[in-house]
Symmetry: C2
Subunit: 311 residues, 2 copies
């Protein structure tokens, strides 16, 4: 008898997840029948996401676990009839994806690749040889798991990396600064600034005109953190005057970024559509498969939500 | 009395090297007067490049060394009156610059950055989340100093890297293959192929139609090695049919690449103007300064050319 899994994360995610989940189940040696629709009384596990297709979990009488596809479960924990074990997603690919996005875009700006990508016009522009990484100071604002991992990956490529955090931290390979005075020092002369801070009342508009003015002239800003960390008007003004050369932005105050927003048309801005740290179907599918394997083996689930705390 | 240095590498290089050399001399604590023109009898050191402004070194009677800016000295050793010690350039930045170019372009293709760089048109294209690096096999053809360094940098970013060389080599962190059968296996399913082979009769047109067909459909080719390693017609055909997604090429059979060459206008090709492994003025200037410091201290010069061998 195959294990019955209902994919109740919604029809938009089904095409993205169907094949990776099937592959992960096969890899884990699980015999699974998975469908978007099922008789609730026959379902062994539910794969879910906020906004998914189940509104009442009470009829899922033999369901051993509800496996959420995202890390956040604040829109799931309160759903009607949900008494089954609930597991959130901790995708090991998230940090790796962020490191790849940050290193890729730092190198892209460092190497001046855009001029070649955009101007395939027969002109041999070899007049501007880029410096090497060890001559290009990079500053990471935020030294949580993502900021520390990005900083260390850049340091391994020889970039001199300064990391800043609100409270003092030590990250091997980085010059680490902290607090308000440390922030000014961290920005002084930085040629690339990467924002990976959490969004709080203190960090909103943290990168403002005065702080941009501390960076090296012609510098680059990369924001894969949170949109409101940057004072958008100050950023555009700095790009207009050439104070900054370019900004690559992955997060915005409103997403999707409205088509009329000045970031879209600005030659000094590259908009990427919140792709830096997305859940990846193959790695997330392996986490789902591992939890089903655990459920079948009677082992404790990974990332099980504590309902008293709500996460 | 300052040390007199004549910058005789030609007027084109003077603007690029004047400031970096001055900075390197200051860093080394050297008191130096440097000019493009000087009375030969007063010159202590000559900074030179093939095609430079001195045709007869005989009048440079007190010159302690001729310091070449490039690695190759085949157009220098035979110059009239050149009996002074001659040193070639070994720029430590060359390998680093190559690693940065290769890693930057692998990540650029891996992340699909071009679609965002080229299409800032208000459309939020977040449908295509890239895989993570550990799901993107990369193959490096050539495991010399450059190929090994690039492969290891990519492996540190989690790419599964296969390296191939004519004769067997071992590079930690890479799956290493060798010989003709190894070449086929190295290309099987590769999503990115980087060419860093020397150009020989055996390697000319090495990446031909049959070998491209072994790569993963929709793969990428990056060539910072030598232009003739690729069969250009086969490459264009593979791009036209979508067999390959993109090629980023830094080297060509004719350089500068002629404006009418089909590579320029092809949407699947990015031409970069031989920038992957250029000598960098700041690091090369430090090598020059170090050799002058050695000359003044009576220590042996670095990279001194053995005239009997010619290099």
């Amino acid at each position: 008898m195959p294990i019955t899994v209902q994919f109740a994360a919604g029809p938009k995610l089904w095409p993205e997840y169907q094949a990776p989940l099937a592959a992960a189940f096969a890899e884990a040696g699980l015999d699974i029948a998975m469908t978007p629709e099922a008789d609730p009384a026959t379902v062994d596990y539910v794969v879910f996401a906020p906004g998914g297709t189940i509104t009442d979990f009470a009829p899922y009488t033999r369901c051993k676990a509800v496996l959420n596809l995202w890390a956040g479960v604040e829109r799931v924990v309160g759903l009607a009839g949900l008494t089954q074990p609930l597991c959130r997603m901790v995708d090991p690919a998230l940090t790796e994806g962020m490191v790849e996005y940050v290193v890729g875009n730092v190198l892209r700006h460092h190497l001046g690749l855009d001029q070649h990508i955009r101007h395939q016009d027969g002109v041999w522009r070899n007049n501007l040889v880029p410096p090497i990484a060890r001559e290009r100071p990079v500053t990471i604002l935020g030294l949580g798991e993502l900021g520390a991992a990005c900083g260390q990956a850049l340091a391994r490529l020889n970039f001199p990396v300064t990391g800043w955090s609100r409270t003092p931290k030590e990250v091997p390979g980085l010059r680490c600064l902290a607090g308000p005075a440390g922030l000014e020092a961290a920005l002084d002369g930085a040629q690339v600034v990467v924002l990976l801070l959490p969004l709080t009342a203190e960090t909103e508009n943290l990168l403002n005109a005065g702080r941009i003015a501390r960076m090296a002239r012609g510098g680059f800003v990369i924001n894969p953190g949170r949109g409101p960390l940057i004072d958008d008007a100050a950023l555009l003004a700095a790009l207009d005057t050439g104070r900054l050369a370019h900004a690559t932005l992955d997060v915005f105050r409103t997403e999707p970024l409205p088509p009329a927003h000045p970031f879209w048309g600005h030659p000094g801005v590259t908009v990427t559509p919140h792709i830096a740290a997305d859940t990846r179907a193959p790695s997330a599918s392996r986490v789902i498969a591992e939890n089903i394997r655990r459920g079948e083996a009677g082992e404790p689930f990974l990332y099980r939500v504590d309902r008293a705390r709500g996460y």
